[in-house]
């Protein structure tokens, strides 16, 4: 099989087919102001080799889709990434991905292309989204030379905004799943975490609707003003 590859400076090595696919990835558009339950949103969770956003690597990606106000169980993404020279570390105990599984993983450029094709131009949602956003952006840049511009929403930030009475201002995913009595099938598995984050998001959207925050721009505006208030009071 003939593969046409080339190297140019810092750029990653990609086949012609991969370059074509990268080219074809959807442009991100500005936020749709239609009602929340008419949106397609991708809920994402990453498992990584550690918490250092500059050094650690994405090991697996799990994602589910909220479409028309419901989680569509037929549209899911999960992939473990191949990482050369990966060794078990403290975080292996958390995510439970064995080094052998990583060794059998998907080649990162392929996996990330498939993932971005799965995402399309949909906004992304994650719990503590900043971490996932930065880890994903770095992986995309390193493996694909692609600049991530998708909008991210942080479920950890939306939750206290629409549920002020819960008195959980800095709570983690476990606190919120417990608060709403949700069951996680396998915590720290990217797919299962993505699913429970999506379930949490559905609850929060339902509460947001009651507070007339029924579209993404309105929600974003509230989140921004809350951020400003908190910065001000600090």
């Amino acid at each position: 099989m003939s593969k046409f590859t080339w190297f140019t400076g810092q750029r990653p090595a990609l086949t012609q087919a991969q370059l074509t696919r990268r080219q074809a990835l959807a442009e991100t558009s500005c936020l749709n102001d239609g009602p929340l339950n008419e949106q397609r949103l991708v809920v994402l969770d990453l498992e990584t080799s550690g918490l250092n956003m500059r050094r650690d690597q994405v090991l697996s990606i799990g994602a589910v889709v909220i479409d028309q106000g419901a989680i569509d169980l037929g549209q899911q993404f999960e992939c473990t990434l191949l990482r050369e020279g990966h060794q078990a570390s403290a975080s292996t105990l958390i995510h439970g991905i064995a080094p052998s599984e990583i060794a059998n993983g998907e080649e990162p450029a392929e996996a990330l292309l498939s993932f971005m094709e799965f995402v399309g131009d949909s906004p992304l949602l994650a719990f503590h989204a900043e971490f996932d956003q930065r880890m994903l952006a770095r992986a995309l840049k390193q493996s694909l030379g692609y600049r991530l511009q998708h909008a991210f929403f942080d479920v950890a930030e939306i939750a206290p905004l629409v549920c002020p009475k819960a008195k959980l201002p800095h709570a983690g995913l476990d606190d919120w799943t417990q608060h709403f009595g949700l069951q996680v099938q396998q915590r720290h598995h990217a797919s299962a975490d993505a699913l429970v984050t999506a379930e949490l998001a559905l609850i929060l959207f339902s509460k947001a609707r009651q507070q007339r925050l029924d579209n993404l721009p309105a929600l974003l505006q509230q989140l921004n003003s809350r951020r400003r208030q908190r910065a001000h009071s600090m």
Binding site: G62, V64, G69, A70, I71, D72, L73, G74, Q76, F77, E78, C79, T80, E106, E107, E110, A111, S114, F180, G181, L182, Q183, Q185, Q186, H189, S191, A192, L195, A198, E199, L202, I203, F205, S206, K207, Q210
Partner: protein, 643 residues
């Protein structure tokens, strides 16, 4: 591995985590725990997960035909409908984690009749209708579950639903199947002048057991079957004769909309093996005994015929085990408890009649016309395999002296009949409610005086007696005397509101065992610890309630379901309520019969007590809902009679 394969593989394992998790959750509940793994995976892959905040409507009647099959993943859903008596709404059922809705509406391809609300924050899995239909045709456990009427109980719908489901969702053998559907091929027919030889040739070529003789407009004139052929060959008839000299005239017919059960009952009653299907006066099909019972080992029509012609009581006694086998196989074929009780009653009636005839032959006929009456469950045509004798004799007499004379002649006969019935498995009545008791071998005048005394003096004994004797029916002999007796009774009760009130108090005595907190109340001690009584606590409230309302409103019927239907027709109870009572009664009866069946197979004595903890999740839940309907009937009586 090529990269495309790798992605497909990765995609699969990715789906597996959450899909598997959801499957593992569903596998804790029926019918999902019995479903094939591949079918269950297909189900989950085609689901959406949706959230409903507390108080949010999930589906309502105005949404139009139901488009999804809902499974509660987490939370609670209430069914609400307008209150029948008061303003506002009432919660008619509750659905919790692992349970699904609205089966009846989905299968019936219509809107739900009940608004479904999230009683608390709730997640539901929604399977789209095309995927549901596909699974319905592939998965037996799902289909059985859906057709068993769990949702029709919850949704309070009539049983039409099941019949339509069979049409839309693929043929499935059931006693509710339309005859038009069972008669696949065009009927073989001929004109009346066809020579016998040609008619038989036609039957042979077409490989059928019967030929229908029709006029030019296709109206059936007669039928000729293989059994008839045996007869004419034995008689040495000329094969050139036209067939109309040899056919059975005016064959019995049913419309194609009648059910398989209707045909089975007709064959059993009339001892025939073929039923013509006729629509607008034209022959459109023939149903044979074999079409109906091709799957059954014991055949109903044959059994009825054998009973009716048995030459000795011992033969009748031996046939009881065939009756049990038949009931077994009918239960397995999804026959409803109503169909089975009707059938047992019919076979029991045949047995009783035959026992009376044999006894008359053996002891000599006194040549006094009399009517054999039955009371209680036998009177209501609601017998199960567990049958007590409750019977009496009615005869006509001009005065007390003549009555006494006739009685003394009939009593030995009656006592012998009682003994022989006992031999056939009809247990002797502990309370001596039997025709051989001089107090129950009465002239019509004596009976009506006795019944009046029950109504006039409402002592506890008389109330109890009225709950047995007022469900009466004639099984053998002229029925006119029994009809007169019942008419007189209805007149007396209709005009006596005090008696009605006493009956109502009586009907409230047995409280259905449903506790405050969504569960059962069971016996706390003794041998019956942790059990409840399906008959006394479950069925009796319906039977007593229906009897009271029927007697008070001049309803002739004795059967509880027939009484309920007549009461709906007269506007005494609302159609929706009646249908719900019917479903509930039906289910409890079914549960009781299945239990008897198991006990009979294990050689245990029959018992109506059941430990709800031994039931599976589904049965437990339906039973609870059924008892809740009994409770609703009682509270409507309490309201009506201001108790």
């Amino acid at each position: 591995m090529s990269s495309a394969d790798a992605i497909a593989q990765a995609g699969k394992t990715a789906v597996l985590q959450n899909i598997h998790g959801t499957m593992a959750f569903l596998q804790k509940f029926p019918p999902f725990n019995q479903m094939d793994t591949a079918h269950l995976a297909y189900l989950v892959e085609n689901c959406q997960l949706r959230f409903y905040g507390e108080g949010e409507t999930i589906i309502k009647p105005t949404d139009g035909p139901v488009e999804h099959f809902y499974i509660v993943k987490q939370g609670r859903v209430h069914g609400e409908r307008p209150h029948s008596a008061r303003r506002g709404t009432e919660t008619t059922f509750e659905i919790t984690s692992g349970e699904c809705f609205p089966l009846a509406a989905l299968i019936g391809e219509r809107a739900t009749r009940t608004e479904h609300l999230a009683a608390e924050d709730t997640f539901c899995l929604l399977l789209n209708k095309p995927a549901f239909i596909k699974l319905f045709s592939l998965s037996n456990p799902l289909r059985d579950f859906a057709l068993r009427g769990v949702s029709s109980l919850l949704d309070q719908v009539n049983q039409q639903v099941q019949m339509r489901a069979v049409e839309t969702l693929g043929a499935q053998y059931s006693l509710d199947t339309r005859l038009g559907q069972l008669a696949m091929r065009t009927p073989i027919s001929c004109s009346p002048d066809m020579p016998l030889r040609d008619a038989v040739k036609l039957m042979h070529e077409q490989q059928v057991g019967s030929i229908v003789i029709v006029d030019p407009k296709l109206k059936p004139l007669g039928i000729f079957t293989l059994r008839d052929l045996r007869r004419v060959v034995a008689d040495g008839v000329d094969l050139a004769q036209p067939i109309d000299c040899l056919m059975t005239q005016s064959p019995f017919d049913l419309p194609p909309d009648a059910s398989a059960f209707d045909a089975a009952m007709a064959m059993t009653e009339r001892h025939i093996a073929h039923v013509c299907l006729v629509e607008r006066g034209q022959l459109c099909g023939v149903i044979s005994e074999r079409d109906l019972f091709s799957l059954q080992r014991v055949d109903l029509v044959h059994l009825a015929r054998t009973i009716r012609h048995a030459g000795r009581v011992e033969t009748l006694a031996a046939l009881r085990s065939d009756v049990r086998q038949l009931v077994d196989s009918m239960l397995a074929h999804g026959a409803s408890s109503t169909q089975i009780t009707q059938l047992i009653t019919l076979l029991n009636d045949h047995t009783v009649s035959r026992v009376i005839e044999l006894t008359l032959e053996d002891l000599g006929d006194p040549n006094i016309p009399f009517t054999w009456l039955v009371f209680g469950s036998e009177g209501r045509s609601e017998q199960t395999l567990h049958t007590d004798q409750d019977n009496g004799i009615l005869f006509e007499a001009a005065d007390a002296a003549e009555a006494a004379a006739i009685r003394s002649r009939l009593l030995p006969l009656a006592q012998e009949i009682n003994q022989r019935l006992a031999q056939c498995g009809f247990t002797l009545c502990k309370g001596n409610i039997m025709a051989g008791n001089p107090e129950l071998c009465l002239s019509r005048h004596e009976w009506s005086r006795r019944f009046s005394s029950f109504v006039q003096e409402a002592t506890p004994e008389n109330l109890l007696a009225s709950s047995i004797y007022f469900d009466l029916r004639a099984v053998w002999g002229a029925t006119k005397g029994c009809d007169h007796l019942r008419e007189g009774l209805l007149q007396q009760v209709a005009g006596n509101s005090l008696f009605q009130r006493m009956l109502a108090e009586n009907a409230l005595r047995q409280r259905p065992p449903v506790g405050m907190f969504r569960d059962f109340v069971v016996a706390r001690s003794g041998a019956e610890k942790d059990t409840l009584d399906l008959k006394v606590q479950g069925l009796t409230p319906f039977v007593d309630g229906a009897r009271l309302l029927a007697l008070a409103h001049g309803v002739n019927a004795c059967n509880t379901l027939e009484r309920l239907r007549a009461l709906i027709q007269q506007g005494v109870i609302e159609a929706q309520d009646g249908a719900a009572y019917e479903e509930a009664y039906h289910y409890i009866q079914q549960a009781r019969m299945q239990q008897h069946q198991l006990q009979a197979r294990d050689g245990l004595p029959y018992s109506n007590r059941v430990d709800p903890d031994h039931l599976n999740h589904l049965d437990r839940r339906i039973l609870r809902e059924s008892f809740r309907q009994a409770q609703r009937l009682q509270s409507s009586l309490a309201q009506r009679y201001q108790l």
